[in-house]
């Protein structure tokens, strides 16, 4: 079992690139950068094969125990079970494809080696996060992901707005991280261990269902998850994070970072199940986010921002699934989403690159002919995102969530309706994007025609996002449940409420209908009568603006937090806390002068010191006696 190699290889790659990157040729950089992740992916395949063939429930590997002192025993040890296997599979494979894509995409960039170093580190952090067997290591990965996202979003740091976006991502996610850290402290306080498996095993014995502590801890963990996964109310960083290069966006959105929150909740589901109210909140956050983000996506004109909001919305689906205890459905959607979202981002990146870094969809169009491969793969990804029935992976994964949000034991009609509304909007904005970009007249000249480095990953991802759906089929399609069976040892399956089995086909029909009608609406608005959308925009200008600005969250936060904080900092320019440190310095210097005086170099003086010490010791003895 060389489990530790999986995160170690990208780390080593990153290390090599940091140390020697400037001396290596671009070709070598590409080989080291993507090769390390590729090897990881191979080992993942091998490990996965072994895992399945031995039908083990978990592998455990302790790579390195730092020390074991007085009960403090930080160790780098990994735990592999079905859940983390799915994650590392997605991370390494999608990550690898993104790396390959980047070798072409970033070919002309000066920071080539730096880019791959960060990218490798990103993958390594995420792998550490999902493989960690204790929360301390998980937190390390968690922060590593945060750091790398900061570095990568601000990759083109010469432009001020990129730096701003990077800082925003870092600070906003920090809010969640803080909550998570407090939650972890509380966990340690309660269980005296940070081992995830032990905590999961002990939690049901220690807490009753609905226990207050469980509730508080769950909410704190949720806080962390919400921050990283860009859910309400901490979603504002993600759209700005588009400032980074497209492969970075793909990596953040598909394989790493935003899914960390989903992973965290799934991983700690034992705690969440003890706090049904917290679980309910997870569902509500998911439902609200998916609709909110969907409406915002409708109004964006920047290609990548549409995709960003769509990610927020899709993660909302996963949260909704988690909220109704449909654990494996959430993970299933995560996987499929990773495929098609990576595909969409990479394709979008190719489009943007072809159009000389033009992001505005209204300035695109007619690319269907010029970039056929991109078009077809993008179409597959878009259909999957819009969950077009039967042929797309997205349909099967999203359908499962829709179904369980209604019929699952924690499901209700409101969740279902929100999810349905979300699905409708999703297919509208998805096809709006497709139509605006690829159909109609060509508005910008096509420059760079993508080569193999870009098209091959796209084709593979397109394949995966189609085939991927067929590993888990609903009851009405033959009830093929490889995926949820696989996850079952880790994530309990959800039971369906009485009397709902019979209407499953109806729900599927509705979902399919909604998706198709969304496509139709988009078709009407953007192909048949292109003027119609403009009319709508002007007639409801305020609403459009409101949606366009992401429901005004940014300005709200600006008024609520940023402005007061700046105000306080203005008052406190000479930091009060600094006084303490200045004081320490002053005291040190003061004592230094005094005691330096005693080091006079005169022998008799030193003897005097010893005598005085002796007198003090004896006097102390006499007083205390």
């Amino acid at each position: 079992m060389k489990l530790w190699l999986i995160p170690a290889l990208p780390l080593i790659g990153s290390f090599i690139l940091i140390v020697a990157g400037s001396r290596l040729s671009k070709r070598m950089v590409a080989i080291v950068g993507s090769g390390s992740v590729g090897l990881s992916a191979l080992i993942t395949l091998f490990t996965g094969y072994k895992f399945i063939s031995t039908s083990a429930t978990s592998f455990h590997y302790q790579a390195w125990q730092w020390m074991d002192v007085a009960g403090f025993s930080p160790a780098v040890s990994f735990h592999l079970d079905a859940l983390s296997l799915v994650f590392i599979f997605v991370i390494t494979f999608v990550g690898f494809l993104i790396h390959v894509y980047s070798t072409e995409f970033m070919a002309d960039d000066d920071g080539y080696a730096r880019f791959f170093a960060y990218l490798n580190l990103f993958v390594c952090s995420m792998l550490t996060l999902v493989l960690a067997d204790n929360f301390a290591l998980l937190y390390l990965g968690w922060e590593g992901v945060g750091l790398c996202s900061y570095l990568l979003i601000g990759f083109w740091y010469t432009e001020e707005k990129n730096g701003y976006a990077a800082r925003k991502a870092f600070i906003v996610t920090r809010v969640g991280d803080t909550a998570l850290a407090i939650g972890l402290f509380m966990l340690f306080q309660n269980f005296h261990t940070l081992n995830i498996q032990q905590i999961a095993a002990q939690a049901p014995q220690q807490w009753a269902v609905g226990s207050e502590t469980a509730m508080v801890i769950s909410l704190l963990l949720l806080g962390g998850a919400v921050g990283k996964s860009a859910q309400l109310p901490l979603q504002t960083w993600l759209p700005d994070a588009m400032a980074g290069p497209s492969p970075v966006s793909a990596l953040i959105h598909a394989a790493t970072m935003v899914t960390a929150g989903v992973y965290l909740i799934a991983r700690t589901h034992a705690i969440f199940e003890l706090a049904p109210d917290a679980l309910m909140i997870v569902g509500i956050i998911g439902a609200a986010t998916l609709v909110l983000a969907g409406f915002t996506a409708l109004t964006q004109f920047d290609l990548k921002r549409v995709l960003a909001y769509s990610t927020i919305s899709q993660i909302g689906y996963m949260f909704l699934a988690l909220g109704v205890s449909a654990w494996s459905a959430a993970i299933f959607h995560f996987m499929i989403h990773a495929f098609f979202k990576a595909l969409l981002f990479l394709a979008a990146g190719a489009v943007i690159m072809a159009l000389h870094h033009e992001h505005d969809m209204y300035k695109m169009g007619g690319l269907k002919k010029k970039l056929p491969i991109i078009y077809w793969t993008f179409l597959i990804g878009a259909s999957s995102l819009a969950a077009l029935p039967l042929v797309t992976g997205g349909f099967y994964s999203k359908d499962q969530i829709l179904w369980l949000s209604l019929a699952g034991e924690h499901g209700n009609i409101w969740f279902f309706l929100f999810a349905l509304l979300g699905a409708f909007i999703t297919s509208i904005y998805t096809f709006r994007m497709l139509f605006l970009t690829f159909f109609g007249n060509e508005k910008t000249h096509v420059g760079h025609i993508p080569g193999n480095g870009i098209t091959i990953p796209l084709l593979i991802l397109a394949g995966l996002s189609t085939i991927g759906g067929f590993i888990e089929l609903p009851h009405s399609f033959g009830h093929f449940t490889v995926f949820s069976n696989f996850l079952n040892p880790v994530l309990p399956s959800v039971s369906v409420q009485e009397g709902f089995e019979s209407i499953e086909w109806m729900i599927q029909l509705i979902a399919a209908g909604v998706a198709l009608s969304g496509v139709y609406v988009a078709y009407i608005f953007y192909i048949v009568k292109p003027g119609l959308s403009e009319e709508l925009k002007t007639s409801a200008a305020d609403l459009h603006k409101f949606w366009f600005n992401g429901w005004g969250f940014d300005s709200l936060y600006d008024k609520l937090f940023v402005k007061p904080f700046v105000f306080i900092s203005d008052i406190n320019k000479k930091d009060i806390v600094d006084l303490f440190y200045d004081g320490l310095v002053w005291i040190s210097n003061f004592f230094n002068r005094i005691f330096s005086y005693t080091q006079s170099g005169i022998l008799r003086w030193y003897i005097m010191g010893i005598v005085i010490g002796g007198i003090l010791l004896l006097t102390l003895g006499l007083i205390k006696n």
Partner: protein, 478 residues
């Protein structure tokens, strides 16, 4: 005569060292040859170490009435022997280039090591005293070894008068203890104390006077004033020896003595050591911050470090002893490394002790500067160095026994300490190139360089993977 009772095997390390020093002396009588005597010294030290590795593991027996040979003692003896080996490797080039008669140095080095090794295994006032004095008397001459340097003589005489002076206190204290308890054996004193309900005043005074003698050797406040002057005046390898082997032996003795007599029962003793520890941690660091002489900075920092060690000593128990052992390993490694850097950079007339000598060192001698940086970071206790793990161990033992005040002062002291360690590092990275006054000797210093590399690799290794060493220590202390 009942001489034959002593099992030769038990005291073999000591016999080995004695024989080595005798052979060294005889070889001088026949022909002076630096290389030969250096080789002899290193080989015999290696031999002792290998013997300790192979034969002496964690068994425990006593050689009545003077010695106790147990895991703790064996472990630290091994550490001492290895440290002396490293120091003698560093000494070769250092003394080779100086036109002194350098051969006697090795005899003294071996004898001093013997003294320290005896301190480590002694369980009786007589062996304590003899070990201490063998160590001290060898050190007097080692400190003043370079006779061309007035500073060396000055340091020598200061050390001699003060050490003899504090030995007198130690002896008087021991006499008082003996007069009350009727035994000079640690276990005899422990028996007396366990039968007595309270600590008799005379005995208490005896302990107090003994603390003066012990405190002097450790260089803790207020018996610390000799440290900077002696460190500065002594040749760099000798300074390394004083900082590590000489202090380490005393630490072990202190731990053994007070653990055996269970001195922690008596609040006045604990209070005395607490005050000494706090004063050492603070004053040692305070003294260093505006110092511009690297050797003196290291001297002041060693005062503080001994204060840190006292925290674990006061915590006592298994964890405390483990912490002391680990800390000593880390402390030995880093100090020998640091003084090794000083000695490698020293030229014919003076040691590289001014901070200006280090200006821009990184751009002139990147390897040496890197080693020195690593050593300083370890002294400062930056994570992933042995120093950090050692310090963490100390804190853990302190926290475990709720010595909050001590732990707090330890933290404050470390923060202050960071300042002057970083100051040296910053100086080394200063791009404005310093004066190239100190020339490295080619060829000769290769052996030093290799030693330094080994030391720094070990230091990093124990920082990244301390668990092996921890288990080793636990195994020895079983």
């Amino acid at each position: 005569m009942e001489v034959s009772k002593i099992n030769i095997i038990d005291v073999l390390p000591g016999i080995f060292l004695v024989t080595a020093s005798l052979i060294a002396m005889l070889s001088i009588a026949i022909k002076r040859n630096h290389k030969l005597i250096f080789g002899l010294t290193t080989i015999s030290l290696l031999g002792v170490f290998v013997y300790l590795l192979v034969y002496a593991s964690n068994h425990r027996f006593t050689v009545e009435p003077l010695f106790i040979i147990d895991g703790f003692g064996t472990f630290i003896t091994g550490l001492i022997v290895m440290s002396t080996l490293a120091i003698s490797l560093l000494s070769y080039a250092y003394f080779e280039q100086r036109e002194e008669r350098k051969e006697e140095y090795y005899i003294l080095l071996l004898l001093a090591t013997l003294g320290s090794a005896i301190l480590v295994i002694s369980k009786h006032f007589i062996s304590l005293f003899l070990g201490l004095e063998i160590l001290s008397i060898s050190l007097y001459s080692m400190v003043a070894y370079l006779r061309k340097r007035p500073r060396s003589d000055e340091a020598g005489i200061k050390y001699l008068i003060l050490a003899a002076f504090s030995s007198a206190f130690l002896l008087f204290g021991m006499a008082l203890v003996y007069s009350v308890s009727g035994s000079m054996n640690f276990s005899g004193i422990a028996d007396y104390l366990s039968s007595a309900n309270s600590l008799p005043l005379t005995m208490q005074a005896g302990f107090g006077l003994m603390i003066i003698g012990i405190g002097f050797k450790l260089g803790v406040v207020p018996f610390h004033m000799w440290t900077p002057d002696v460190y500065e005046g002594a040749p760099a390898p000798v300074t390394a020896f004083i900082a590590t082997v000489s202090k380490g032996g005393m630490v072990v003795l202190l731990v053994r003595f007070f653990t055996q007599i269970d001195g922690f029962r008596f609040p006045v003793i604990v209070l005395s050591f607490t005050i000494i520890a706090i004063a050492s941690m603070l004053i040692g660091n305070f003294l260093a911050i505006r110092q511009n002489n690297v050797k003196r900075i290291l001297a002041y920092s060693s005062i503080a470090h001994m204060g840190y060690v006292l925290v674990a000593f006061l915590a006592g128990g298994r964890l405390g002893v483990e912490a002391v052992s680990f800390y000593l390993v880390a402390y030995f490694l880093t100090n020998i490394g640091a003084f090794g850097v000083v000695s490698i950079l020293s030229d014919h007339d003076r040691d590289a002790e001014k901070i200006e000598d280090y200006q821009g060192l990184f751009w002139r001698h990147p390897k040496i500067a890197t080693v020195f940086t690593a050593m300083l970071l370890s002294l400062a206790g930056i994570p992933l160095t042995a120093g950090f793990v050692g310090k963490f161990y100390l804190v853990a033992s302190g926290v475990n026994t709720q010595l909050w005040l001590l732990v707090f002062v330890l933290a404050i002291g470390s923060v202050i300490g960071l300042f002057y360690y970083i100051k040296i590092i910053a100086t080394m990275f200063d791009k404005s190139v310093g004066t190239e006054t100190l020339a490295l000797r080619p060829r000769l210093y290769l052996i030093n360089l290799i030693t330094l590399f080994v030391l720094s690799i070990l230091m990093m290794f124990y920082g990244i993977y301390p668990q092996g060493l921890i288990e080793r220590i636990q195994d020895f202390l079983k």
